[in-house]
């Protein structure tokens, strides 16, 4: 099924490609323009910040200049610690993301689909949803110790809630008319979910994924309070404990960059898989 669809998609793409060479050039130009537009704000921000730091408006013990931060990051890259921090954190977020997504898909589908499951699980899940990440820390240490499992699970918890919420609401919002089509063709509940409900609620699901991933990055800090010796969250907390503003800001910047990159991947997936939507072209 999946293979087939991608086949079809590629057919579509090539047939388009042949016919629209000029369009493609235009697209490339547009892509460039879009990147340039997107860079305006960050560049302005960094420039102003650098200037203000230079004239001493931000004293360096509070907010070091971007160049200083940049040097810090470059320094870490050179002595190799940077890759360790990024690598381990990315691994944890990825693992937690996968775990959390699986849990959310299963529970979300159940709750979205069966009234009994909703009545049973939903109240509890909604209650857990507002417990801050830091609050989980002592409990997770108690239950799972300080190894990787507790860290990954912590991130999975963060990832879980937005995905769950979006799946449930996505399922509830699926047009009855389409579900009836599936029923008419004798689909089992599972098939109904896979062939109608999941694709139909895909937009909502994908937003959930993106939200969840963002929360995954946020939960890293709490996760790495649990006995980490490496990682971006570790870097942040240590920077705070040791009054090293450049470490703090460097870790923030790294969070922003990697978070943005990971989100960009999901956004690509989103654009790809929702091409069938009858959207208004902006």
């Amino acid at each position: 099924m999946a293979k087939n669809q991608s086949e079809l998609a590629s057919v579509l793409v090539t047939s388009r490609g042949v016919k629209q060479k000029s369009v493609r050039v235009k697209k490339q130009y547009k892509g460039l323009q879009s990147i340039m537009l997107g860079s305006i704000l960050p560049i302005v921000l960094i420039t102003v910040w650098e200037l203000l730091s230079r004239i001493g408006f931000f004293p360096s013990y509070q907010l070091p200049a971007p160049t200083v931060i940049f040097q810090t990051i470059v320094g870490m890259a050179q002595d190799g610690t940077l890759w360790g921090h990024i690598g381990i954190t990315t691994y944890r977020v990825f693992a937690g993301f996968v775990l959390g997504t699986i849990a959310a898909v299963i529970l979300g589908s159940l709750v979205g689909f069966y009234k009994k499951a909703e009545q049973l699980f939903d109240p509890m899940i909604q209650a857990f949803r507002s417990i801050p990440s830091l609050a989980w820390v002592p409990l997770f240490i108690l239950w799972m110790g300080i190894g990787e499992p507790s860290k990954v699970t912590m991130i999975a918890v963060g990832v879980f809630f937005p995905i769950y919420l979006n799946i449930v609401s996505g399922i509830l919002g699926v047009d009855r008319k389409l579900i009836e089509v599936g029923k008419m063709y004798g689909l089992s509940t599972f098939q109904l979910v896979r062939r109608i409900i999941l694709p139909a609620s895909l937009p909502s699901f994908l937003v959930g994924l993106r939200s969840g991933l963002g929360l995954g990055w946020m939960f890293v800090v709490a996760a790495e309070l649990m006995g980490a010796s490496q990682g971006l969250g570790f870097l942040l907390v240590v920077g705070q404990n040791m009054s090293q503003p450049e470490t703090i800001i460097a870790s923030i910047i790294l969070f922003a960059i990697i978070g943005k990159l990971s989100d960009w991947v999901l956004k690509k997936v989103e654009t790809r898989s929702l091409h069938w939507q009858d959207r208004l072209v902006k």
């Binding site: 013990y61 509070q62 820390v137 309070l225 006995g227 980490a228 009054s243």
Partner: protein, 306 residues
């Protein structure tokens, strides 16, 4: 230095209080500051510092005028250029020590080799651990240091996730009482003192008021010395901890010498060297110079006399 006092007076004086500074709790509890400054129409606001790093953030962002921290924390901040100075020692606490479970078989730092030790990086217990190891001739990389928040380190010790813990009061006191944890290595001199810091700008503009605050702190310190029982009760009440825990914590505080001096400078310089060796403080920082810039005994000397 206070003779060069300026005419203006501050509109408000922003103090912090912290559960690791019993003196500040007493001062806040009795409202002496409000009493004193009300005469001059100066408002007093209190902010809770949840830890040295918070107090420093507050000081550096001009959110408080006085902040209570551990000495080493103040040094680390000063090393990055923070405009603060230490004007008073609120206590000589022995708030940190090496802790282990009763049946762990660990009785000296030697035994830690190859074991897991929990500590919160960059805080006093961490510095204590490094200094102790250095003093006993154990290399820091022979033990596996696990970075855990203070409370979590305690839990990890009890549940056996780690073999030892560079503990901090009141967690440490509590564990001693409740799960029989043992302090197997103690050294009061490796603790870096409780520093009352002031923002340099405030000290420059309002030296008299620095003196007045020190006077208030002195009043509180004297009260604690005279009423240890009540002080423990007050600490327990304010911090929401057990009276027994509070007593143990207070017992480990030495309130006798409030004036910053040689001993403190030495202790901080020693701590600074350890931190520099551990790359926490940058190599290009001159520790002694920074320490001297940080510690300014003049106010306390003026108020208390030597």
């Amino acid at each position: 230095s206070s003779s060069a006092s300026s005419e203006e007076k501050p509109e408000e004086i922003r103090l912090d209080y912290a559960y690791y500074s019993p003196t500040s709790l007493v001062l806040k509890n009795f409202g002496w500051a409000e009493e004193l400054f009300a005469e001059e129409d100066i408002e007093v606001t209190w902010t809770l510092s949840q830890g040295s790093n918070k107090a420093l953030e507050f000081l550096n962002s001009d959110s408080v005028d006085f902040g209570s921290t551990a000495g080493a924390a103040a040094l680390m901040s000063k090393a990055t250029g923070a405009p603060i100075k230490n004007v008073y020692i609120y206590s000589k606490p022995e708030w940190t020590a090496m802790v282990t479970n009763p049946d762990s078989g660990i009785s000296s730092l030697e035994d830690l080799k190859g074991k897991k030790v929990a500590a919160t990086l960059g805080t006093d217990p961490y510095i204590f651990l490094l200094r102790s190891l250095a003093a006993e001739g154990v290399a820091a990389d022979e033990v596996e240091i696990i970075n855990l928040q203070h409370a979590d380190g305690g839990s990890a010790l009890v549940s056996g996730d780690v073999d030892a813990w560079a503990g901090l009061d009141p967690h440490m006191a509590r564990l001693e009482l409740e799960s029989g944890a043992e302090l197997f290595y103690r050294n009061a001199d490796f603790n870096t003192y409780g520093f009352l810091n002031v923002r340099e700008e405030f000290a420059e503009n309002n030296p008299e008021y620095v003196n007045k605050v020190i006077e208030l702190y002195e009043k509180a310190r004297t009260w604690i010395l005279e009423n240890p029982e009540e002080a423990a009760a007050l600490l327990a009440e304010e911090a929401g901890i057990d009276v027994e825990v509070a007593k143990k914590q207070l017992e480990r505080n030495d309130f006798s010498n409030p004036v910053p001096g040689e001993t403190h400078i030495n202790a901080i310089v020693e701590a600074g060297k350890v931190l520099q060796a551990g790359e926490v403080i940058k190599a290009d920082v001159d520790i002694e110079e920074t320490t001297n810039a940080l510690i300014d005994p003049s106010f306390a000397e003026e108020v208390i006399g030597e």
